[in-house]
């Protein structure tokens, strides 16, 4: 699908799918994440291409919203309503008949104590949580969360992440965008990365990293004999370059598996002791940096 606003292309030829479990949507500011969410929910039209949600076009079929909920990035709340009124309103609009659901949702996001205060007086973190409560009260099959962790403190953040993980484990489709990469990594089964409106990568972090053949892995090896081990590793076909570090050596490789086999063998041959073998750039943050920088 593509989306352009006048001359500006927001999303270009993007093709991806989201299924049960938690998927992290990543991209730098302005990459097109929010536009993608708006297209998925039918709030914004698609300039070219097609989107289906649960087999229906969200732009024309409002019935799909019985199973889809969005927590938008912006403060889409009514400041003069209390938290409880807001969540009850959300439940009523989605025809939720179970009268206990709003209280359950408030309890799940730990907003029970502040539920009778006007939302206008809430902190950013509280607004985020009340928006999450308004979304989950409808018991959606598809939950779309645009930067839901913004403004939350570490305790609230950990609780929300746990909540999203729980939804994913229940088989619901959870799509979450966040600039807090380590938390996305923790919560997501897979990630979809968008850069400049285009799909940069999709899959598990490990699979995406493994597909970056042109970017060598960097492995830090801690040893009591860095010079001798470094020299020995030059003999390994897996080592592309070796540099010294404070507590050992840093090795670039395109074949981390072979390097993992060669290193202990060569260390044994020269009588060196290895105390650490740590790939340095397999984290989501590293992968994301490579994707954004186009390296």
């Amino acid at each position: 699908m593509s989306k352009w606003f006048g001359q500006k292309v927001a999303v270009s030829g993007l093709s991806c799918s989201f299924g049960p479990g938690v998927t992290g949507l990543l991209g730098p500011n302005g990459a097109g994440k929010t536009t993608l969410f708006r297209m998925i929910t039918g709030l914004t039209s698609v300039s070219n291409g097609k989107i289906t949600v649960l087999g229906k076009n969200p732009r024309t079929s409002t019935s799909v919203f019985a199973s889809v909920a969005l927590v938008p990035d912006e403060d889409a709340v009514y400041g003069d309503l209390t938290g409880r009124q807001f969540v009850r309103y959300s439940a009523a609009l989605s025809n939720v008949t179970d009268r206990d659901k709003p209280e359950e949702a408030l309890s799940v996001v730990q907003m029970g104590d502040a539920a009778d205060r006007a939302i206008g007086g809430y902190s950013k973190g509280m607004r985020q949580r009340i928006k999450v409560a308004a979304a989950i009260v409808t018991d959606p099959d598809v939950l779309i969360l645009d930067e839901p962790l913004n403004g939350t403190d570490p305790i609230q953040r950990a609780h929300l992440i746990e909540l999203f993980e729980g939804f994913g484990e229940q088989g619901k489709t959870v799509i979450v965008s966040s600039h807090v990469l380590e938390e996305v990594e923790r919560v997501s089964d897979r990630v979809v990365a968008i850069v400049d409106g285009r799909l940069a990568a999709a899959g598990s972090v490990e699979a995406i990293r493994a597909s970056m053949h042109d970017i060598p892995y960097v492995v830090r090896i801690s040893t009591d004999a860095p010079r001798r081990l470094g020299a020995a590793l030059f003999e390994s076909s897996a080592a592309m370059s070796v540099t010294g570090t404070d507590d050992g050596i840093s090795v670039s490789t395109n074949d981390i598996t072979t390097l993992g086999k060669d290193t202990p063998r060569m260390a044994a041959d020269i009588g060196a002791r290895i105390t650490g073998f740590r790939p340095q750039d397999q984290s989501l943050e590293s992968v994301f940096r490579y994707l954004v920088e186009g390296r």
Partner: protein, 248 residues
């Protein structure tokens, strides 16, 4: 039914927060106050003429339209500006129902506020001259006037942030100036359409009514038909916009 009821009740509540309601009510009381001050030395036909002139010029021609314009423009316009439109749009509610309920709630709110003005003016007339027969006619005229302005302003308010300004220019420049000078254009003046149903329902209205209505004649049916048609067209237009336009 529950989503529709919730949307209606919350829309009413959004339309009339306490501070705004107080201001609106005070605006509606001005015609009654002016009537009381201007009719102290008048009796009979002169007082009746004042009632109609003030009711038409100040209540139907000013106080009710101002309130209806603000409420109509804000019905969906404020949801769009406050970025809460996605909250109501992403629901299993047809867009037509969304448009219909928001418009209907705005009409009810504008009419309720306008009825306070009609009642106040009617009570003032009763206090001064003991005649309560015109209250019902004025109340119906308020409903027609409020409905027409509100219905037009809901889609306009959704379309542009300048809806209130545009409508005020229409009210003061076009209706107040142009239509007064060219009575044949009275058919596109909502408050004069409201006045025409007042003329049909009120018993023995004074001659000044004909002058105020322009080319319109008293009618009980045509204004109600206009209300239904304008409401239907407004809802249809708003529905199309909700379907076609980007909502965020």
């Amino acid at each position: 039914m529950r989503p529709i009821a919730a949307l209606f009740v919350t829309s009413l509540r959004q339309a009339l927060p306490v501070r705004r309601t107080i201001i609106f009510v005070l605006i509606q009381l001005i015609p009654a106050l002016v009537y009381l001050l201007s009719t102290q030395n008048r009796t009979g036909a002169a007082a009746l003429e004042s009632f109609v002139a003030i009711g038409a010029g100040m209540l139907l021609g000013l106080a009710v339209p101002v309130v209806a314009i603000v409420l109509g423009a804000g019905a969906l316009g404020s949801e769009r500006r406050d970025e809460t439109l996605s909250f109501i749009a992403l629901r299993p509610i047809p867009r037509s129902a969304l448009a219909g309920v928001k418009t209907f709630a705005a009409i009810i709110a504008a009419t309720a506020i306008g009825l306070i003005g009609a009642l106040a003016l009617g009570v003032a007339h009763v206090v001064e001259h003991g005649n309560a027969s015109l209250i019902v006619a004025m109340a119906i005229a308020v409903f027609v006037t409020a409905s027409l302005y509100t219905s037009v302003l809901v889609p306009l308010g959704f379309l542009t942030d300048r809806a209130v300004l545009i409508a005020m220019v229409y009210l003061f420049i076009f209706e107040g100036g142009v239509v007064s000078a060219l009575p044949a254009l009275a058919t596109i003046s909502p408050w004069r359409i409201g006045l025409s149903i007042f003329g049909a329902v009120a018993s023995d209205p004074p001659p000044i009514l004909d002058e105020l209505m322009g080319s319109l004649t008293p009618s009980a049916i045509a204004p109600l038909v206009a209300v239904v048609v304008v409401y239907a067209v407004s809802v249809a237009f708003t529905t199309v916009m909700l379907r076609q336009r980007d909502l965020a």
